[in-house]
Symmetry: C2
Subunit: 354 residues, 2 copies
């Protein structure tokens, strides 16, 4: 979860009642304009006519699945990848193509006969990994060479804590169809449930039809708030100070991790996003779903890694830890408890739980 301290306030919210009428399925035109301009500034050649406003970017996954997946369709995904995308793809009958850990090293042959490739190139969920420019080129080339549509999911790009290339992979495509989606849940506020999808010109009308069938149109009040927040002159400064606070939390989390997990797990320091991804050392390999139950009894919650894997196999002993929400003190305390549970699985918990 993002930190609630970063959410906008409603002090100056003068909402016109006209936005309470039905609105266009595509979204508010002023917001579509801003989304297209921001993406064009990041190198993705697009116009407002290619933008669809969503009730959160989870909805884009549902719409892409509806348009592209038939029973038995093959989908190329990172391994691990966003578990709620896997759930939707499976629901519509997809089968997953076993891929390298990320799609930055895949070939056109691997993508052949895939309905699409789904990738989170910036600060991936759950691994935190950010594709290098070479990997971005490689994925784009593989999609172009195999004419495989690229579905790029990019909710975290604004949360970079180091200088790093976060340009859309879709911008590097020359021929392949593409769908790029973004979210305001991480950089603004999740409760607004607003995201957007931008796509190749000939795809948009299909997505608009599916969007209309799914829920007519996105929430207009949230669209109004997001538009005004994005165009607020103070927005860049706020975003920069948010990055600073998240960077400080990440660095403190890393220190705590070294103390508690130095002999227990391996991880890389994420250069952006919200997560550390830990692989437990060989002697501590467990199904972390069992660990979760015991951790919650001690007041600590985390995400088990297993559900992020599309196919069976090398999926045990991984956990995803969020560093943006808890205070430094709480995170430090939680990590100690978690490491203790992993190292002493049989120990009796203290009677005073919290």
């Amino acid at each position: 979860m993002p930190s609630p301290e970063e959410f906008p306030t409603f002090d100056d919210l003068h909402v016109p009642s006209s936005i309470l009428q039905y609105g266009p399925s595509e979204g508010e035109s002023a917001l579509r304009d801003v989304v297209a301009q921001r993406l064009a500034a990041r190198g993705l050649d697009c116009s407002a006519e290619q933008v669809l406003i969503l009730n959160g970017s989870q909805q884009g996954i549902d719409l892409v699945a509806k348009l592209f997946i038939d029973p038995q369709s093959h989908i190329a995904v990172e391994s691990p990848t966003y578990l709620a995308a896997l759930q939707v793809f499976k629901f519509f009958g997809a089968r997953f193509v076993r891929m390298p850990r990320d799609l930055g090293n895949c070939s056109a042959e691997m993508l052949a006969h895939c309905a699409f490739a789904y990738a989170i190139p910036n600060f991936q969920n759950p691994t935190g990994k950010c594709y290098s420019p070479v990997e971005r080129d490689s994925l784009a080339s593989a999609c172009d060479a195999s004419a495989t549509p690229l579905f790029e999911d990019d909710p975290y790009w604004e949360l970079n804590y180091e200088s790093v290339d976060t340009s859309p992979v879709c911008a590097r495509l020359e021929r392949a169809p593409w769908i790029y989606q973004g979210s305001f849940s991480k950089s603004l506020a999740p409760g607004l449930r607003l995201g957007y999808l931008v796509c190749s010109k000939n795809l948009l009308r299909h997505f608009v039809n599916l969007k209309q069938a799914a829920d007519l149109h996105s929430n207009r009040l949230s669209q109004w708030i997001v538009l005004h927040t994005l165009t607020d002159p103070e927005r860049p400064a706020h975003l920069e100070s948010m990055r600073e606070r998240y960077r400080a939390r990440r660095d403190a989390f890393q220190l705590s991790l070294r103390q508690s997990f130095g002999a227990v797990a391996n991880w890389e320091i994420p250069r952006g996003g919200l997560f550390f991804w830990l692989t437990l050392n060989q002697q501590f390999q467990i199904d972390s779903r069992d660990l979760l139950e015991r951790a919650i009894e001690r007041g600590v919650a985390f995400m088990p890694g297993e559900p992020f894997f599309a196919t069976d196999g090398d999926r045990s002993g991984t956990i995803r830890l969020n560093f943006s929400h808890a205070s430094e003190h709480a995170a430090n305390r939680g990590l100690k408890i978690l490491a203790d549970l992993i190292c002493h699985p049989g120990a009796t918990p203290p009677t005073h739980k919290r």
Copy 2:
């Protein structure tokens, strides 16, 4: 469209920023409570644990289709019925069982082998029809006898302009599974995009899983506004005065219709809802989709009736007219233009269009 004069204002909107965090997929518990209490007061035995808050009731149609429809599934629908429900059911592969004009006269045999029966018993869209108590009993009995799930869509029940039974048909079921859904778009404001679904106890967890996959959870800001509006002590008085204004518009519309369409079409006076449903007389039978094009050139919009029919056949020469949105004067002028276009299809429109 509802009349914008009826929308709530935001003068006293003190929104807590805590609602901007992620929320529960089921919806805000206080709002689920209120929804359950209101339905219990209308005779439907249910608790808050059976309620799912939706981003508009269109979303309920998508979720029900996902849960119940496989390719070639048979669905029982009224003829005509809500066109955007037909679109969704078709998308998921449904076939439609030819039914009497409404489901109040169907038998258990007709429903046998149907995945579910979809009905809008109160002030139906598009016909405006309200089921009699006998018809309600009949539909419930047919569902019970054939163990067919009933999907009851009820967005208009609060917009009654005469004293009439609007109790949920689901409340009359004894055995059949049921899904009841309602909306805040008509009685409150469409731009909030909020509705709800209530169902048999064992169905809810499936809908929650599908809801989470579709868009995680519903807009929390809208949930907050709806909760505070519904529990506002002035709400019943506001609703009553809204009914009075809509009733006045309906009555004025009826007078205008008699003037312009008395020799052109047949219709019944709706006892609630937002629509008049006209069947053109034999000599004026046309595909009203062609009429729409010419009407828009003259500044008049209406809904052609043809798309509301699930199957080919007796679908020509029907139109749906909304009486809640336009002023009495504008409605009167629009009806004159429309009748003129129907009676003189070859006439050259005046050069000054509006």
